[in-house]
Amino acid sequence: MAEQYGPENVVVILGAAEGEASGIAAETVTAGDPTFAGPLTGVSLGLKVYHICEEEIKGLVDADVYEEQVGMMEMVLDLGEIATEMQSIRSQFTKF
């Protein structure tokens, strides 16, 4: 998709259940797969990447839809840990 639409036009939105998993997924689409397991090993796409629970994304979604789809998980997740991890990955590796 990054090739087809241009990496500057792609935003990746994650739904991982905790900080470390979010960080690994975010690193995969920015710096390259840190686990060296998949096709993005050694490929640095530098895409914009957010977690669905980050305020930047939450603010863009219809409040009722968000409550129906994410409301329950928002109560369960460690939102602070996820946001810190995501901001760290973006500041280091996102190119756009």
Partner: protein, 508 residues
């Protein structure tokens, strides 16, 4: 009347050499990076049998200690073993690799398993001391010279190793059919053997006459067949044969990790309908998943904890008036149209069936979702799976106004438990608490428990749908076919009453 959970058995089989030679993480590494440091290091991360027996989550799985007792032991549990633990627990046992290899041969009907002469003799000697294996020894074959095994290895056999030394092999069952390759036959025989040992423990635990078992459902994750019917199946009947269930038929039910819950729902309905009186749901474990997270474990200085093959068997029978009932009138299922957000999934599996029963989330005393051992999953970056599930269920209770948000942590402790099952896909999925749940209900400690299985169907590339199912087990209502009054008895009672009445009219 609802069917009951009559008896349960759980087994683990230690398979350290199969971790190295049959686990998919390791077999993949051997193909893509044969000289990797990981492959050189993995043997050093394997645990001896004693450590596996002393490992508290394993003891919990076989009924040697309760989940509540496990929760009191500080993590990491691999650093806090229980000295002098027994390989036998009240629900089952932990079997060493040598007995597994012998059992593979016992389960092999086509002379595909070869064991070296001395090794076979030693294994038979040990098995003769085993309370259940001893009856199967007549099926074991004489050992062969190492040269015979080496010749088979040169012709595509899979090696069986003990402490890294070649002690036997599994031959391929066809010259070109991949579905009958040595790798697949080994995988299927291990699944069969670990199902068989669970069935034998179930017979011991329940005291049932084997001939009284009518139906066996296998809900493991392997495919049995050849190139013309790759998943032809009936592992169930193959295992029932070795276990001596002469009156039983069988069939397989496959649904990834959700299969055990689907199978128990099916078995309960079969018994409730009167089709069968005694149905056994069974599953052996998976060689492919051995050492699945071994890379992460070794990287973090953790032993290779995924070193056991899991198994279980559940006897579901006609209502006896005492054993806990499976509430067949309202089970949970994730439908094609349910949606895949966690909220949609928990609603479909937990609250939809409870609404039909007129129950709240808090009316379920214990939930048993995916019960993976967090000692294994946390170092692998997958978090604490059962704890996440309890939090999600509690969060839904908050959304429904059945729980205060401040009570969420307490809900997780009170209605949940620590995970204690190996990461063998279907093995941790809902059913590990069935044994303790049955006991807790019969002791009056709890009224009811909900069992939840989930499956990742996308892995087979046929659909992107998620799957899951659930059922509730509840204290027996106390009315059984034996305890109820028949029409004939009612007639007799009326006749006696009329006679007495007539006599009283006659002035006697």
């Amino acid at each position: 009347m609802n069917a009951v959970i009559k008896s349960v058995a759980y087994t683990l089989t230690h398979a350290p050499d199969l971790v190295v030679h049959a686990g998919s993480t390791q077999t993949t590494e051997r193909i893509v990076n044969p000289e990797s440091d990981y492959l050189k290091a993995i043997t050093g991360g394997l645990r001896p049998f004693e450590d596996v027996v002393n490992y508290a989550p394993n003891q919990t799985y076989i009924g040697g200690m309760t989940p509540a007792q496990l929760a009191e032991i500080p993590m990491p549990w691999y650093e806090n073993g229980l000295p002098q633990a027994s390989r036998f627990g009240k629900f089952g046992e932990i079997m060493p690799q040598q007995e597994l290899y012998l059992l593979l041969q016992i389960c092999d009907s086509f002379d595909l398993v070869l064991l070296e002469t001395d090794y076979a003799a030693k294994a038979a000697e040990e098995a003769a001391k085993h309370p259940m294996l001893v009856e199967l020894l007549a099926r074991a074959k004489a050992g062969v010279e190492t040269a015979v095994i080496e010749a088979a290895m040169a012709d595509g056999a899979e090696g069986l190793y003990q402490d890294g030394k070649l002690v036997g092999c599994v031959k391929k069952a066809h010259s070109i059919d991949e579905n009958l390759s040595a790798h697949v036959i080994l995988e299927n025989l291990v699944s069969k053997a670990t199902s068989v040992i669970s069935l034998l423990n179930l017979v011991k635990n329940s005291g049932i006459n084997r001939a009284d078992i009518d139906m066996v459902i296998d809900c493991s994750e392997e495919a049995v067949g050849d190139m013309n019917q790759r998943g032809g199946g009936n592992m169930a009947k193959a295992s029932a044969e070795i276990a001596g269930f002469t009156g039983a038929t069988g069939s397989d039910l496959r649904a990834f990790c959700a299969a055990p819950v689907h199978a128990i729902i099916t078995a309960a309905a079969m018994v409730k309908s009167g089709t069968y009186k005694n149905v056994v749901v069974t599953a052996g474990g998976s060689t492919a998943k051995l050492g699945m997270n071994g890379k992460d474990h070794l990287k973090k200085g953790v032993p290779v904890l995924e070193d056991v093959v899991g198994g279980f068997a559940v006897l579901i029978s006609e209502n006896d008036g005492t054993s806990p009932e499976i509430l067949s009138e309202s089970v949970g299922w994730h439908s094609v149209g349910s949606g895949s957000s966690p909220q949609a999934v928990i609603t479909a599996l937990v609250t939809d069936p409870l609404d039909k029963l007129g129950l709240k989330i808090t009316d379920i005393d214990k939930f048993s979702p995916e019960m993976q051992n967090p000692d294994i999953t946390k170092p692998a970056g997958a978090g604490d799976v059962p704890a996440s599930n309890f939090k999600m269920i509690g969060a839904l209770a908050v959304k429904r106004g059945e729980l205060e948000r401040a009570q969420l942590d307490e809900f997780v402790t009170r209605h949940g438990m620590v995970g204690f099952a190996p990461t063998q896909g279907h093995i941790p999925s809902g059913v590990p608490y069935l044994g303790f749940g049955r006991e807790d209900i019969m002791a009056g400690d709890i009224q009811r428990a909900m069992f939840i299985g989930k499956g990742s169907l996308f892995l087979g590339r046929m659909t992107n749908l998620f799957d899951g199912a659930s059922f509730v087990v509840q204290k027996n209502s106390g009315v059984s076919p034996a305890g109820s009054v028949s029409e004939e008895q009612v007639r007799g009672l009326i006749a006696t009453a009329l006679r007495d009445f007539a006599k009283s009219l006659g002035g006697e």
